[in-house]
Symmetry: C2
Subunit: 431 residues, 2 copies
């Protein structure tokens, strides 16, 4: 947790009462919303853990307003968190919008002093996690998220950027330490030790939780991942790319909330989305109306998991081939047919390493959602505690093997096949 | 090469005529030098490639003065280079002095606007490279340089620093891009392609130079090292740690000139010193009075090469054990005898990876000194061109295998043994 720094002079958290006047004073916003500001309908809808979020409906259009609070909303003032996260979110969102047009909400207004971003109101989009709990298929999602990741990761890496631009970007995000620290603690550390903030389905998972804290192989593996997170400045990450950071319809996908952005290891983003697909997969037993009712949906999840990687891999390579504009792998050194063959082989090796990282980071993200502070509603909403623990234990067991034995998962199909097998396992629960 | 930016207002390159008045105006320097400033003796002694360097002798004491020029001194105004390098040098020097007391020159004065550092005059120290050309043994060097590296690398890594401090340090050095770019181009790129600045002993090494530019394995390997240099933010590097950046006597060692400092892969520093020892080893045939006359000195070089790594390895681990204060490998996760054993095994693995990196970066540094722009006087001073080319070709051949097959060198003894064997090889020279 970061130290408390006083908010800047003039900073005021908005309320449904004050926000109308604030927006009305910004002429382009007033025009966009249209009509009499007094008639605007304003709702506070923040269901996340950190910020205030409002929906504002004018006569012509609506907008969404996100404002950072100087503390973690979920916990309160006892856990201060700097307002600067709005600055990093705005910077990342701008960069992502430039690199993947149409895959993020449009930004209408940014107020650094108020840590406030006004953006496109995404309707009728819903949070993807909720859609997946409702067994909704999103046939265009893999296409969209793979484009988002292939562009935002490739074009902010040393494969596309000069060292000078890359270092400027590293410096620009280096101050986002408080948000990185949340990840470092809650994902890479706390689930593997006794920590006040940990929680899990108890008593059912007590033995697993204890085993996870005593598992030397696992603790070495998660520490290696943490070291990578701390020291590998590979590309600009979204930093929190789970299915709660996606709003979508069947035809339109938007990635939101990049306030955890910084320059880190790519596998952390690709792993996040895959982890959340696997968690959703294991959670479906807790949501289906009758056993087997969601068999087809489960298969959609696994097929989409494979597609996400396959399409990402293809698009990332295509970017590399089309725009090798970075300082890494200088084209001068790989001229002619022989050079092209070498570089193609090197791309294979690069993508294999990235897949390996993806599997490891995915595992870390799965474990933290079951043994750490912040859980997913995919699992938390399963009311039958024993059933929930069964789903969670399967995810835990798969994640443990992914992290310790990533070589068991040379490709996405090996991972989805292992998930299917694991769903047949009956975990040993405490009672 | 970086773009030309005008020097700040008031910046004036010093001369032997102007420097006395400048120093006399700074009271502590005037007092340190002592006596009548008009009587101070001032010599310009810069034999490096980049900067002005003066020795100033007062009545009481002497000082050294280093001032950056807005261009590369060796080349002239056609190759601009930002004055900010003095800022990074001063920052790195301050940090190194704090971490390894007595192993850097003491700083007396820093003038950011003039890009000028006044520091301890190191006498009767000489540049280590010159001492080694003269076959001088430095029995305390391995002890000193291993301490310098173990401290400056360990205590600026994630093993010792919190993520917040580490990221602040990354940001503080992120602007030193022009100096990093010199390394990226001259070490990792140009020797492997046709580049105007390349030079080598010709025609003797023409075939080797052409082979090196066509060697796919080598170009992949050096590109992997370059990518590490671009993206692995492991610790604060000196950035140019060769035997020309060391001034010493038999009993006192000082590391100078850290203007290439930034947060990068540790093996780049450890590799630099080992590369320069190996180059010196191969060069001795060109300097010995009669064949075999320097056999004992050659063995001193190789024994010291091994000692440098062995002592560095021991001290780095000792730092890790004594002060595990960083965010990586949280002590909480490795409690008790089992935890300690795990962490010990992980330290082995970490040091093995670092040795592997060291071998690779050392190879890159050896090759650039023979096929790239900037050569070493160890080799350049060998007047017999064929003999020089023979020494150089042996270094090239060893370096090529080090870079492509680092697994052939599991420990320093394997490397020194390979150097001995390579000295028996008669290279194929053009004539």
């Amino acid at each position: 947790m970061s130290e408390k720094t006083p908010p800047p002079p003039g900073y005021m958290p908005q309320t449904v009462e004050t926000l109308g006047a604030y927006l009305a004073a910004v002429q382009p916003l007033r025009a966009r919303l249209g009509g009499d500001p007094a008639a605007w309908r304003i709702e506070e809808v923040g269901d996340g853990n950190l910020n205030l979020v409002f929906k504002v409906y004018g006569e012509k259009e609506g907008v969404a307003v996100k404002q950072a609070l100087p503390y973690v909303r979920l916990v309160g003032e006892a856990w201060p968190l700097p307002l600067s996260r709005a600055h990093y979110e705005h910077m990342a969102l701008s960069e992502q919008a430039r690199l993947s047009p149409g895959l993020t909400p449009e930004i209408f207004h940014y107020d650094e002093n108020q840590a406030l971003i006004v953006m496109e109101l995404l309707e009728p989009h819903i949070i993807m996690r909720r859609g997946m709990i409702g067994a909704r298929e999103y046939p265009r999602f893999a296409e969209a998220i793979s484009t988002f990741m292939a562009n935002s990761l490739y074009f902010t890496s040393d494969l596309a950027l000069t060292a000078e631009k890359k270092k400027a970007m590293i410096a620009a995000f280096a101050g986002n330490t408080a948000l990185c620290k949340i990840t470092e603690d809650l994902i890479f550390t706390d689930p593997y030790r006794i920590a006040k903030l940990n929680r899990w389905t108890s008593p059912e998972l007590d033995t697993y939780a204890a085993q996870w804290r005593e598992d030397g192989d696992l603790k070495v593996a998660v520490s290696q991942l943490k070291l990578k997170f701390l020291s590998q400045a590979q590309a600009m990450l979204h930093g929190d790319l789970h299915t709660g950071s996606v709003m979508l319809t069947e035809t339109d996908t938007r990635v939101i909330d990049p306030e955890f952005a910084f320059i880190g290891p790519m596998g952390f983003d690709t792993g996040a989305i895959i982890a959340n697909f696997l968690l959703s997969y294991f959670s479906q037993d807790g949501h289906e109306e009758s056993p087997g009712a969601r068999d087809a949906y489960r298969e959609w999840i696994l097929a989409t998991t494979e597609d996400i990687w396959t399409l990402f891999d293809r698009k990332f390579r295509a970017n590399w081939i089309a725009q090798p504009t970075g300082d890494a792998y200088p084209p001068d050194l790989f001229q002619g047919a022989l050079g092209a063959a070498r570089l193609a082989a090197e791309r294979n090796s690069y993508m294999q390493t990235l897949w390996h990282d993806t599997v490891g980071f995915a595992a870390a993200k799965m474990i933290r959602r079951i043994l750490g502070l912040a859980h997913n509603i995919d699992l938390d909403w399963i009311k039958d505690q024993k059933l929930r623990a069964t789903c969670e234990a399967r995810a835990l067991l798969l994640a443990r093997d992914m992290m310790v034995n990533p070589q068991n998962y040379p490709a996405p199909a090996a991972l989805t096949q292992a998930a299917r097998r694991m769903r047949g396992v009956t975990p040993q629960l405490n009672s």
